[in-house]
Structures are given as C-alpha cells and as structure tokens.
Symmetry: C2
C-alpha cells in the first residue's frame, strides 16, 4: 500500500482538475489543427488563452504550494525510493518551474514570441536574415531572463534544457554529442566514398491519400495502438496529442508521392501515442506519476517505432504483402528487401525535417552548439548565418545556398524554444540503447516482427518504461533499464549495421 495523507489526496485532486482543464485546452488545440472552420480562429484564440490562464492559475495557486510543502514534511510520504516521494519531488519541480517566472515575463514572452513568429515567417519567405535578427536577439534576451529566474547553478543553458529534459545538463549532452559527431561524420564519409546507393524507385510509386490512410490505420492496429482510445487525422504538421485518459490523437499528412513519408510520420506519432496510452492516466491523471519523463524519452518511443521497427528488414518482410494489398499492385514490382534498402538511404541534406536517420543528429548538433553559444553570449546573433553554414560544411559536407534553407528553416527559436533541439538526438540515443536491451530480453524479436507480432515488444515498453510515468528521471531510467549510462555506442552500432546492410560497407 503506498503512503497517503489528507494533504497528498487534496493535492492530487487539485492537480487532476488542472490536468482535466489542460485536456480541454489540448482538445481546442487539436480541433484548431483538424476540423475548426477557418473563421473560428479569432474566437479560438480567446478561448485558448482563457483556458490557459485558468490552468496556470490553478497550477500556481498558493494552496498547491502549501500542500506540496506539507507533503515534503511528511516522512511517510517521502520514504526514499517510494512512488509518493517521486511524485512529490516532481510536483515540487513543476511548481517551482511554473511559479518562478513572474507573470509579467510570461506575458512578455507570449507577446514578443507571437510577433517574432510572424517576422520569422516573412523573413524565411524572403530569405532575409537581417529582418529576423533583432527578433532573434530579443527572444534570446527573454530566454536568458527566464533562465535567470529559474536560478539554476552552473550554465544558464541548463535551466532551459531542464524544461524539456529535466535533470539533463549541457555538459552531459556535449560529452555524448562530441564523440557521436566524429563517428557520424566518419560513417557518412565512408558511405559517400565507398557506399553503393540503393534504388529509391519503390518510394516513387504514387498512392492516393485514402489508401495511405487505410494502410496507416492497419499498421496502427497491428502494432497495438488502441484505436478505441485514440484516432488518426490529417493536419499540415503531424503531431501526437495525449488529450486525456483514454484519448490519444495522432495526425499525419499525405502526398500522392513518397507514401513512406506519411507511413513513417504515422509510425513516429504512433510511438508517442503508445507512450501516452501506456501512462497510468486512468488512476493518476494530473500527477507526475502519470506523466511522461521528458521530451527525450518521448522521442525515444517515436524514433524506435519509426526507425528501429519501421525501417527494419523484419518489418518489411511482414508488411510488404499488406502494403501491396492496401497501396496497390504498383508496389508488386518490388520486394521486401528493395523496400528496406530504399527507406534507408542516407544522404547529407540541408533540411532537418527531411533528414535521414543518420544525418539527422548532425542537424541537431549544429543547432545545439549555436543556441548554447548565443545564450552564453559567446556568439553574436549577426554571426549565426556564417556559423551555421560553416558547421553544415564541416559536419555534413553540404554548402548552404541561402538562409531560407539554412538558419531560418526552423520555427523553434522564433518562439523561444531554446534547449529543445538536443532532445531530438537524445531520443535517438535512448531509442538505440533501449533497443539493444529489448533485443537481448526478447531474443527472437526480429522473428516476431517478421510475423507482424508486436505484443511482446509493446509489453516490454509498457512495463519497463511507460507505466512508471515520471517516477524516474531519464538518466536514472536508462541505467535501471539498460544497466548503463547513456552512450553513443548503441546508436552507432545500429547505424553501422544499417549502413553495412544497405550500402554494402
């Protein structure tokens, strides 16, 4: 029996209510991207901002602060290693985060970031970095002020990173990224020099959206995503929204060409969705014990399904006949091996969101290094294009022709998401490290996948990762589950092995 107290029960109740109101806000957001009529936009903005204010008010209420303090003073609840102790620890973390920023600063960030995004859109369109530069300056100044409010020891950047990856530090990320960068560059060099590029013909088969959608739904169902507790819709930018208990919504987008883009988009969001569905929300909604650990761990789940499952030989062995049935006989010209090869081409490119599994991390590193330096003041905003282009040349070997396809490509900085980028690569690293352990624990997993059996894999993820909610921090979970600290080795072994199979290295 976990410990209880009147304060803890009241606290969980208050957080549960706030979470349900946040669910309502999430639904407004989902609807805005899916079904809301265009003319509803102005009203929706008012509705969303009112709800956000109510949620914020509830999460920052003095009563919540008092109750957390009461729980912290209760030895029975705070028994080291207990669920309740972890729950209260994370409640404190969240409460401090959300109360340490003065509401004037929150309002200023909201206002400036909204203007900044508009300028960024225009600047990107016009390929005019100078137009965006003063706004980038302002957003980083605001980020710096925010980081200072958090009052973290050590590097300022860590305070921002902590919003997305609690407990992570820039030093730890640098220590993992640096060897990874060298080894990735080396691998890509070998691919470029000696690799035999596979044919991309299987990707060029045209498939209409409704067939792609049916195939996506089929994959979701087979992989164990519960469609009675979730759905799949179409939006401009794919996302997963864990709206609330029993309600997890994925989106994707279809083009007639390159049906694999939508397929992997769906599988990526499905990974996020399986995590959301695996969290113990029915019992503990609103408590950290029912929440996700970090963006990095969330991304590990999406990248695992997208890349480690979805781009594997075993997957296509099983999926190819189904793909032919759903997507049309044009696909009949290709076999599972050709499909596997085609979806694993690795080519340095300019745009992060279009990058393959291997080069993706180099895109992330460029952003991590630049945003960290900007925040620390060791780089000036005016130097961003040159610093960006120099790194793309050095790390990826590509020449950036303009800022539109260079440092203006991502939306993140324009609304102050500093410290977010590294979590993409952390996700890949965690995914690889978990994947090695999963394959050790389930020795015939590849055979199971080749038969379309995903239940043991899903159960492993549910048991080892999802059901803990936010009981453990990412680094701790990683050690607990894999027996080792996060390392670049598993991801490199995975990429080496793929390169060997696909490029014959």
């Amino acid at each position: 029996m976990p410990a209880q107290s009147a304060a803890y029960v009241e606290l969980c109740g208050l957080l549960r209510e706030a979470a349900h109101l946040a669910s309502a806000a999430a639904l407004l957001g989902w609807d805005q991207e899916t079904y809301m009529p265009a003319s509803g936009g102005a009203g929706r903005a008012e509705q969303s901002s009112l709800l956000a204010a109510i949620v914020h008010e509830r999460r920052t209420s003095p009563r919540v602060g008092e109750l957390i303090a009461a729980c912290e003073a209760d030895d029975a609840l705070m028994k080291p290693g207990s669920e309740t102790a972890a729950d209260v620890r994370e409640m404190r973390h969240d409460y401090d985060k959300v109360t340490k920023i003065p509401s004037e600063l929150v309002a200023e960030i909201a206002k400036v970031s909204s203007q900044s995004q508009e300028v960024w859109k225009k600047a990107r369109e016009k390929d005019d970095f100078a137009m965006f530069a003063p706004w980038l300056e302002r957003m980083f100044a605001l980020s710096r002020r925010k980081a200072e409010c958090y009052g973290v020891k050590g590097e300022l950047y860590d305070a921002l990173l902590d919003e997305y990856e609690p407990g992570a530090t820039s030093a730890m990320i640098e220590a993992t990224f640096t060897p990874l960068r060298a080894r990735l560059s080396e691998l890509l060099g070998r691919v470029a020099d000696d690799g035999k590029a596979p044919s991309e013909k299987p990707l060029k088969v045209k498939v209409d959206a409704s067939r792609q959608h049916a195939f996506g739904q089929f994959i979701l169902e087979k992989c164990g995503f519960d469609l009675a507790a979730g759905r799949l819709d179409v939006t401009t930018h794919p996302f997963c929204s864990g709206i609330g208990p029993g309600d997890t919504r994925l989106t994707t987008r279809y083009r007639d060409e390159r049906f694999t883009d939508a397929l992997y988009g769906t599988m990526h969001e499905m990974g996020h969705g399986l995590y959301e569905q695996g969290l113990p929300k029915a019992e503990r909604f609103g408590q950290p014990l029912a929440g996700d650990i970090s963006l990095g761990i969330h991304e590990s789940q999406s990248r695992m399904w997208e890349n480690f499952v979805g781009r594997s030989k075993a997957f296509w062995k099983w999926a190819m006949p189904h793909a032919r049935k759903h997507l049309g006989k044009e696909l009949g010209k290709f076999d599972a091996k050709e499909m596997f090869m085609a979806v694993n081409t690795a080519k340095p490119s300019l745009i992060r969101v279009e990058a393959d599994e291997a080069t993706y991390n180099l895109h992330v590193m460029v952003r991590f290094e630049i945003e960290r330096a900007l925040l620390n003041g060791t780089m000036k905003v005016k130097d961003v294009p040159a610093e960006w282009n120099r790194r793309y040349k050095e790390y990826l070997g590509v020449k950036v022709p303009d800022d539109r396809r260079g440092c203006l490509q991502d939306v993140h900085w324009s609304f102050g998401l500093v410290g977010y980028f590294p979590t993409y690569t952390l996700g890949n690293l965690y995914a690889a490290q978990f994947w090695e352990k999963i394959n050790a624990d389930i020795p015939d997993l590849q055979k199971q996948i080749a038969k379309g059996k995903f239940d043991q894999l899903k159960k492993w993820l549910n048991t080892k990762i999802h059901r803990h909610g936010r009981r453990y921090r990412a680094a701790e979970l990683c050690r607990m589950v894999t027996g080792a600290d996060l390392s670049a080795d598993p991801l490199m072994r995975h990429l080496e092995s793929r390169a060997q199979a696909v490029y014959g290295l």
Copy 2:
C-alpha cells in the same frame, strides 16, 4: 452611438469571457458526439463538468450582479427602447434565472436526471412504464421545486416554459394550440377520407452515404450557409452547435434508404445554423444582443428551411437536376413534381420524430397537455400511459400498441426538460407567419427559389430576425416583423395549401 458606461463595459467583458468558456464546453460536447474515441468518455465527463462549473461560477458571480444593478440604475443606458436597455434587461433575466436556483438543487437535478435517464433507457427497451414511473415522479417533483424557486406569478408551468421561451405563458400557448388542434384534426380527417395519397417511390431510391454527404454540402453552400465558418459532420442524433464566433457546426446522419431523411435533417440544422451565423457574435459575443431569442424562434428558422423551402415545389424544380447529378441516375426516373409530392405525404403515426409536417404538432400537444397537468398535479404519473394513449386515439386517430412507442418514446422528461415541447410547435407557427410576410415582401421569392437563388431570403432573415439577437422577445418580434400577434392561421393556410397540392383536396 449607443450609450456606454464603465460598468456596462466591464459587464460585457465578463460575460464575453464566460461565453468563450462556454464555447470551449460546447466544443467538448460536439467532439464527444463526433470524433472522441470511445474510451475518452470518463475523462470527458470530468472535463465537461469542471468547465460547466467554471462557466456557472462566472455567470453567477456577485460582481456580475453588482454590475447589472449599476447598469439598471443608469438612465442613459436604460433609455426605453434602446439596445443597451434591452441588453441589460436580458442580462438581468439570465442572472436571476441562474442565481435563483440553489446550487444544492442544481446538483440534485444533475444527479437524479443522470440516473433517471439510465432507467428511462432500460424502461423503454423493456416497454416497462412502471419501472420508470418513480423516476418520472422524482423528476417532476424536482421540476416543481425549480419552478417554485423562480417565483413566477401565475401558473407554475410558466416558470419552466420561460427557460426555453422567455415571456411565453401556458395560457397563451393553450389559446393558440386549441384552435390549431381542432383544425389539424379536421384537415387530417379530410386527407384520410378524400385524399389521394402520392407515391413514395422517389424516397425509396438507395443512395450511399458519401453521395448524400456531397449533396448535403452542395445544398448548404447554395443556401448561403458559410462553410468557412461552419461544418457538417455525422452523429447518431443530428444537431446544430453554435460553438462560438465564426464557428457553427451542423450534424446529420445517413442511411442508404430514404435519403430525404438526411437531406431534411441537414436543411433543418442548416436553418438553426444560419440563425447562429446571422447573430452579431463578432461584436457582442456573450451579450444577450448576440444571443438567440428563444427555442421557438430558433425552431422557426430550422422548420422554415426544412419545410417551407425544402419541401416546396419551387425548391424541387431547382434541386432535382442537382439531386440526380449528386445522388445517381436512379433518381432520373422521377420528376420534380413527383419528388415534391413524395416528400409531403401526411400520415398519422406513433413516433414524434418521424412525423410529417402536419401531424407533428399533434404529437407536441399531447406532451404539452400531459406535462402541464403533471406539474400542476391535476394528473398522476400512473395515469400517463392511459392519458397518452387516449389522446393519440383522439387527436391522431392511432392506437398506441405499447409504451415503448407511446409515452416512453422521448428522452426529455427523463432529464427534467419540462416546458420544452411546446417550443417545437411555436417554431412551426412562427415559421408560417414569417413565411407569409417574407413572400409578401419578396413577391417573386418562389421564382427565385426555383432558380436556386436564396440570397434575398437569407438577407431578409438576417435583417429582420437574426441581427437583433435577443433585443426583442419572441411575441414582440413577431408583431414587429409581421404586424400581428402569433396565430394558427398562417400555419393552417400553409398546410391546407400543401394538402390541396399533394392530396388533391
């Protein structure tokens, strides 16, 4: 320039916020009926009830009461006949309504009605009135307590009626219904004795749902429903939800057979939707001046489009070629006249929601008489089945074979909607009276409809009815727009003329 004051501005701001939060609640409700995954139900219930409580708290806040009182004391605002005076009058009406019921009673009604609905479902399934009787008793007892809280002079029933049809009284409804009933019975008698029933063959053409949906969208667009500010989806029970400014959502349902059911369902909800779209929400959202007048006036708009437009000869003259194009060549066997005849068959039946335009009002009268007598205590719950069946025999000439198809058919009483039924017939009456005036004001309207031109009709409705919001009460609007009090004559003239055209009387 309308009058202003600091109190009025603050009041409008508070009501606007409450309305936007009610919008969010409306979206939760819409989503629950359309796209929410089944497992989201339990969470959704919590989300909806939290939001409802917040909206209620805001609308009943003492500050709102103080501000209304301040406005009422301000002669500049309260200038007789002014917009602001009407706005404040209705704010007072709403505030009193919502604050006069103690929250314990609100909670008890919510709890008992939820249980009562469950029992009603089972009782209807099992055709077991005795099972439902004690709950009906309780719901009427609660309705009586609620009516007493309102403290209305005169008949208790009027207090409940006022929730749906502000300003209406049971005496006024009785005075209109009684002659209408006699004349309807007489007309139906003539139809049954001397009428030549038209062929219903055109209704039996099978059309799949996607074609019906495309045709529905086509009709919406042509009639002037703004699809950039609204949408059409599928639900078990069709409805219209005026979610918020620029966002009005309709639903319908499709069966392969009797495509006209979905078509008229869509046109009915479209009528509600055009009213919602015509209200001045952009400027005055949350104020009574941007609200609808009553359920009766709302229903007049839906019934007008459904019956007076949609079942007219002129409509089918225009729509038939489009119907053939959208719905398939099977329809090519029939011409516009046959279609017009088929959709205007009048046949006494057991089920209200399936009733035709003429007999529908008799179904409503049965319910009005019974609920009024139950509330006044002049009828006992145990006598409801016998009283119901006797009236069906007398008014409609049909024998009710069981309570499932008799007094257990409607959900309304099980959750305490007493005083709601009469607004359906008020809607038909207002529609007919408006329609005569519209045709007098636009002499070639029938020719316009026969060409698919609905813009003058829509403009008339926008100008004469929609744009006023709730500035006038229904009876006042009726006099203002048509120059006469509400009467049974226009509806009877309309039904007589249809019977003549269709049944050759």
